[in-house]
């Protein structure tokens, strides 16, 4: 018999077996799918919260307010110093003349000539440091405070910063959870294949007795595992996509209400593919291990 034909026959057989217990197969798809969705959706939420928090944070993390009478020369000197500091990721300078209308606007006064009096703000630098280490930041602060022309240095202690570090930790937690869930999935799939073999134990025993090789016995169950993985992965990807679409829809409604741009960040195609691929990989590996353990018992 042609080797390929044999493989094809076995594949059809495995499909038929899956078909016979259609409910169980679909259930397995759902279980795998949901297990994959759990970390993916958390990942998505964290990514989106990050992007929201970045959107809000026009305010930099360190604000330097200059004295009212600081000369352009002193200002340039300060800028030069800031350029030399390696802890500083980026900075920008805001003239008081630019800052005042912005502040007014942010407080809800849409036109600048509405009776509010003279500009109370100083010139300022806004700095994004590239470190979160509080010691380094305090060093930086005291260094800047000593510069000529600097009135006050304010380190942002706002909730955005806090949210960011929580999100940072959340990302780590998600990674850990993913590993745990993957191993759980290995157990679940392995166990299902084991149960499937148990429920076909008469067939397996007989096959062995009349000369079937381990390979022959293993094949339909391996295909079965493959189908679980593929179906589960696709289920996860599809549900995830639906969730994103649903959320975006919701967001668009909210936008219509308040007029602003904001859209849910979707996973990219490669990430979707890696969900399906990972699912198949885990399922086939789990099946293989489980089959090899079970096959010895018959």
């Amino acid at each position: 018999m042609n080797y390929l034909t044999g493989h094809y026959q076995m594949f059809i057989k495995a499909l038929q077996r899956s078909h016979a217990s259609l409910l169980s197969t679909l259930m397995m798809f759902l279980v795998i799918g949901i297990t994959f969705i759990l970390p993916s959706i958390s990942f998505l939420i964290v990514q989106n919260l990050k992007s929201i928090s970045e959107n809000i944070q026009h305010e930099s993390q360190i604000s330097i307010f200059l004295k009212k009478d600081t000369s352009a020369d002193a200002k340039n000197k300060i800028e030069k110093e800031l350029k030399n500091r390696s802890e500083i990721n980026s900075y920008h300078f805001v003239k008081k003349e630019e800052a005042w209308p912005k502040l007014q606007k942010s407080m809800g006064f849409n036109d600048s000539n509405n009776g509010l009096s003279e500009n109370p703000l100083p010139d300022a630098f806004f700095i994004s440091p590239n470190t979160m280490n509080p010691n380094q930041i305090l060093d930086l602060k005291s260094f800047i405070e000593k510069l000529d022309g600097v009135d006050q240095v304010v380190v942002d202690t706002g909730w955005v910063k806090k949210l960011n570090s929580v999100l940072h930790l959340a990302n780590k937690a998600i990674l850990l959870a993913s590993v745990l869930l993957a191993s759980m999935l290995t157990v679940v799939i392995g166990n299902t294949i084991r149960l499937q073999m148990t429920s076909h134990h008469e067939e397996i025993e007989l096959s062995k007795l009349i000369g079937a090789t381990d390979q022959f016995i293993r094949r339909p169950f391996l295909y079965s595992g493959f189908i679980f993985g593929l179906g589960g992965g696709l289920t996860a990807a599809i549900i995830l996509k639906l969730i994103v679409i649903f959320l975006n829809h919701t967001v668009i409604e909210v936008e219509a209400l308040y007029g602003s741009q904001f859209s849910i960040i979707d996973l990219n195609p490669l990430e979707y593919l890696s969900i399906v691929g990972g699912s198949v990989l885990i399922a086939v590996a789990a099946s293989f291990i489980s089959i090899n353990q079970s096959i010895k018992k018959f």
Partner: protein
């Protein structure tokens, strides 16, 4: 072809299932293994087909010591046997056709040839019209015949049958026996375990077991 030399078989709970068994079966012979319930007949067949391994002694099959055969080669040895199990071992979730197709699939028979060979086997035991029936809907005797059909579907060079006529009335039992005899005439080695010796006009060998001992070996 098959050679037992001082073979002992002990099970965990039964230390003398077979004791000091020595005999030889040549290719093309017809052999009856007889003896009362629990004498060790089924165990003897299981040893020949490497389903169980001997505790002591050597079993030679086609010049191979079964104890030294690699486990990956065992399936290929088993394919030479056609087996009728005492408890039939039919698969109740497949119909008659599929039950008989299984050994053919295992032997790698071309899918196009399977249909014809399954039918031929069913025809030989008088079950051709039950092709699509599930085994559960067959009477006890019909199930036994189905098990026999499965054993002969692969045209084995050795046929081992454990109580193949236990559930059959005289007429069918005779027919099945004649089927076995015809196989022997085609050169197949036939080994039949039974608790009661049928009336046989053909030349045959008889191994009489009792309590695990080979009490008597006759040739007629």
């Amino acid at each position: 072809m098959i050679k037992f030399d001082q073979v002992h078989k002990r099970y965990p709970g039964n230390l003398g299932a077979l004791q000091n068994i020595t005999f030889e079966i040549n290719a093309g012979e017809l052999v009856f293994v007889t003896g009362p319930s629990g004498a060790g007949k089924s165990t003897l067949l299981k040893l020949i087909t490497a389903i169980e391994t001997a505790t002591h002694g050597t079993i030679i099959f086609e010049n191979q010591n079964l104890a030294q055969v690699k486990s990956t080669s065992i399936p290929y040895i088993r394919r030479k046997f056609g087996l009728v199990f005492q408890d039939h071992k039919l698969l109740y979730d497949r119909n008659c056709f599929e039950n008989i197709a299984l050994p053919l699939e295992i032997n790698g028979v071309e899918i196009n040839d399977i249909r014809g060979r399954v039918r031929a086997a069913l025809d030989k035991v008088g079950l051709l019209n039950r092709e699509k029936s599930m085994p559960i809907s067959l009477s006890g005797g019909e199930q036994q015949r189905l098990a026999i059909a499965r054993a002969i579907a692969c045209r084995p060079s050795i046929l081992l049958a454990d109580e193949p006529t236990g559930n059959l009335d005289k007429k069918y039992a005779d027919e099945i026996m004649n089927l076995f005899y015809s196989f022997q005439e085609l050169g197949v080695t036939v080994i039949i375990a039974t608790h009661e010796m049928p009336i046989v006009s053909k030349k045959h060998k008889q191994l009489y077991l009792q309590d695990g001992n080979l009490i008597r070996m006759t040739e007629q």
